[in-house]
């Protein structure tokens, strides 16, 4: 590939220049990229490791002398995975790279201070990367900037959207919801889709259901729809007592106890079943639900934007690969990071006939390929970025913030604490965890 040639000649020039200037002895070693890099990835389940092995095989076609050692860490969500990696680092693992999402950026950059800014590398290889930088929505790039420095290049991401069972809608005589629907309209849909045939007070089929195991999947989309947030924009203080936040939580509570259109918080794996059987008509999730539905050959569903109240604001989270300052080979790691921006790599995200991976690719051109797979409205996964979108709030001590917040929302959704009391207590606890300086 001509890219390869360009890279090689640039390298030689660079080495020569550095030798002449006598700046960094490290650079002198870069005659030919070779060595081993340790790459930590989130081993969340089935396709994770084989997927990465395939990518590394492709990487090795270009860079046969760079060995990429996979280091796996498990977890039920990004937060837990981060814990796992932190434990690995504490365990003495010399990681060069890791796969990390929004939730970890502040932690790595500001708290642990182990992420390496990529700006110099990007400037150096600008010509090579320009095509990628143009192909990625600016909101995604900005998501990985801290204090004006770029720490990761976006690889894949997920917005929260509403999935609905088309058969159930038809049954209830409903038209598919419009893209700019409001929360009130959503409620009407949920009510029409809740069925209590034997009138015993407990519905057999619910209109909507949600999981409360993480902030990303549960309360944040509703809080964003209200125009609120749980921390200030500078991540320096919690804002859970904001009326916008409390009202959103009250709404979610009322879905269960007042309008009775939702069961209590239900784990997502159950919801993936429930939407197929029709026991629940609507759920909120990102693109990563697709593998389960695809494997089950389920196609009676479609997606639509999250309703606004009244203004829509889509929540999203994004992931990429920061280089860590514990790396003995940051330049090799950078080669891998650049490789991951290639179109061919991102195409794997969209999926193959046997296994759609599930995340949305960062490149718009590649994202178009999502139309090859269900649902019909699949391109919405990328096109939400045409409207307002906001990152999941991720202060440095994200996992602690999340743990405290979902503990209190758990009490609210169990109808055991009033929203105001819960958030007042949460605010106090959060203040010791979300702060600056």
């Amino acid at each position: 590939m001509h890219h390869n040639l360009l890279k090689r000649s640039m390298r030689v020039l660079l080495v020569a220049a550095v030798l002449l200037l006598g700046v960094t002895p490290l650079m002198a070693h870069q005659a030919k990229p070779s060595g081993t890099i340790n790459f930590a990835f989130w081993n969340y389940g089935p396709d994770a490791e084989p997927g990465w092995k395939a990518i590394i095989a492709e990487f090795n076609k270009e860079y046969p002398d760079i060995t990429v050692k996979l280091v796996s860490a498990t977890g039920n969500n990004w937060g837990e995975y981060l814990n796992g990696v932190a434990t690995l680092i504490a365990g003495g693992e010399k990681l060069d790279l890791m796969w990390v999402a929004t939730e970890g950026v502040q932690l790595l950059v500001n708290q642990l201070k182990i992420a390496v800014p990529l700006d110099d590398y990007i400037a150096r290889d600008k010509a090579q990367l320009q095509e990628y930088l143009d192909d990625v929505n600016p909101q995604l790039l900005k998501a990985f900037q801290v204090n004006g420095k770029q720490y990761e290049l976006p690889y894949s991401w997920n917005p929260m959207v509403i999935y609905y069972n088309t058969a159930r809608l038809k049954e209830a005589g409903l038209e598919p919801p419009k893209a700019n629907w409001t929360r009130d309209e959503f409620l009407k849909y949920a009510q029409a889709l809740t069925v209590d045939a034997n009138k015993d007070g407990t519905p057999e089929k619910y209109g909507y259901a949600f999981d409360n195991s993480g902030v990303f999947v549960s309360a944040m989309p509703w809080i964003f729809a209200n125009g609120g947030d749980i921390v200030s924009d500078d991540f320096c203080k919690p804002t859970v007592t904001d009326p916008k936040v409390e009202e959103a939580l009250q709404f979610m509570h009322d879905l269960i106890y007042k309008y009775k259109v939702a069961p209590g918080p239900t784990p997502l794996n159950t919801l993936f079943q429930s939407i197929q059987t029709g026991d629940v008509a609507m759920i909120g999730v990102g693109r990563w639900a697709l593998p389960a539905l695809y494997k089950a050959k389920f196609t009676d569903f479609d997606i639509i934007n999250w309703p606004g109240n009244p203004n829509q604001l889509t929540e999203f989270g994004i992931d990429g690969f920061p280089i860590l300052n514990t790396s003995p080979n940051p330049d090799l790691a950078w080669e891998f990071v650049k490789f991951m921006t290639n179109k061919s790599v991102e195409e794997r995200l969209v999926g193959t006939v046997d296994s759609p991976l599930g995340n949305v690719p960062a490149r718009k051109s590649v994202a178009q390929l999502m139309s090859k797979f269900p649902p019909k409205n699949g391109l919405l996964f990328y096109n939400v970025l045409d409207g307002p979108a906001k990152l999941v709030p991720a202060p440095p001590r994200f996992n602690q913030m999340e743990s405290i917040f979902i503990r209190y929302t758990g009490s609210i959704f169990a109808d055991e604490m009033k929203v105001a009391d819960a958030m007042e207590a949460a605010q106090k606890e959060l203040e010791s965890v979300v702060k600056c300086g």
């Binding site: 498990t74 796992g84 003495g92 997502l268 079943q273």
Partner: protein, 295 residues
Amino acid sequence: MSADTTIRSAEDVLPKVARRPVRVHWDAILTVILLLWGSAIMIAPFAWIMQVAFSSAARAYQMPPQFFPSSITLQNFANVFQDVPYLNFIRNSFFVAAAITVGQLITCPMAAYPFARLRFPGKNVLFIVLLATLMIPVQVTIVPLFIFMRQTGLYNTHWSIILPALISPFGVFLLRQYFMTIPTELEDAARIDGASYITIFWRIIVPLSMPAMMTLGIITFVFWWNEYFTPLIMLHDPELQVLPVGLTLLQGRYSAGAVGNVAAGVTMAVIPILIVFLLLQRNIIKSIASTGLKG
């Protein structure tokens, strides 16, 4: 023939077994009914989870609860092997549990023997201290052990679990109690013949303690086969993980693991135990029963 042997009725001649009770034993019937209810509650969850494992995903939560699958599919089992390195889990669990069991069956009798038979300074104090450690919750030692394993490079290897478990105060206690019930005549005779302590230990005590050793072996193996907390902390790679932790890995990202797959994973974890249990149950239960007697 004396007069005492006159036969008075058929009952005197018939063997006892042939005699049938004349009244109906209501308490026996009531007992059986109560116990049947109890057994049903014990068995039903297993029957249900196996039914879910063998049924297609959509029918997982069908009510009224099914205990026999109406149509058998092996898809869930196939999924499990695809999703997680399940065979590794089994192999790892076996290796860890076996290594620890063998280790304890060596160190525990060795330590129990002096406490049961020998006199040495510090004997009582040492024994009490050893017993006291039974009360130390694993959480106290796990944090420093974690740090220790990390610094010796043993973190994320099976040795981080095996090494600390090679000794067992519980095992020492169990065997010491058993040794003390062995009559000393054999040993006294051997001592007179000039046998060393080591010979006595190896030739007399150990062979006579097989029941207790079996008890310890079974209890230890089952305990470590089922252990969740320590491997959760000491191991990171799924390939190295043990079965209990592996089962939770089936739950997947944001709990996206399908119910049928988890059921299949659990079923495969339970069935080998069931088989081994049925084969060894007499020994296992006898061992546990005798444990309480010495308490």
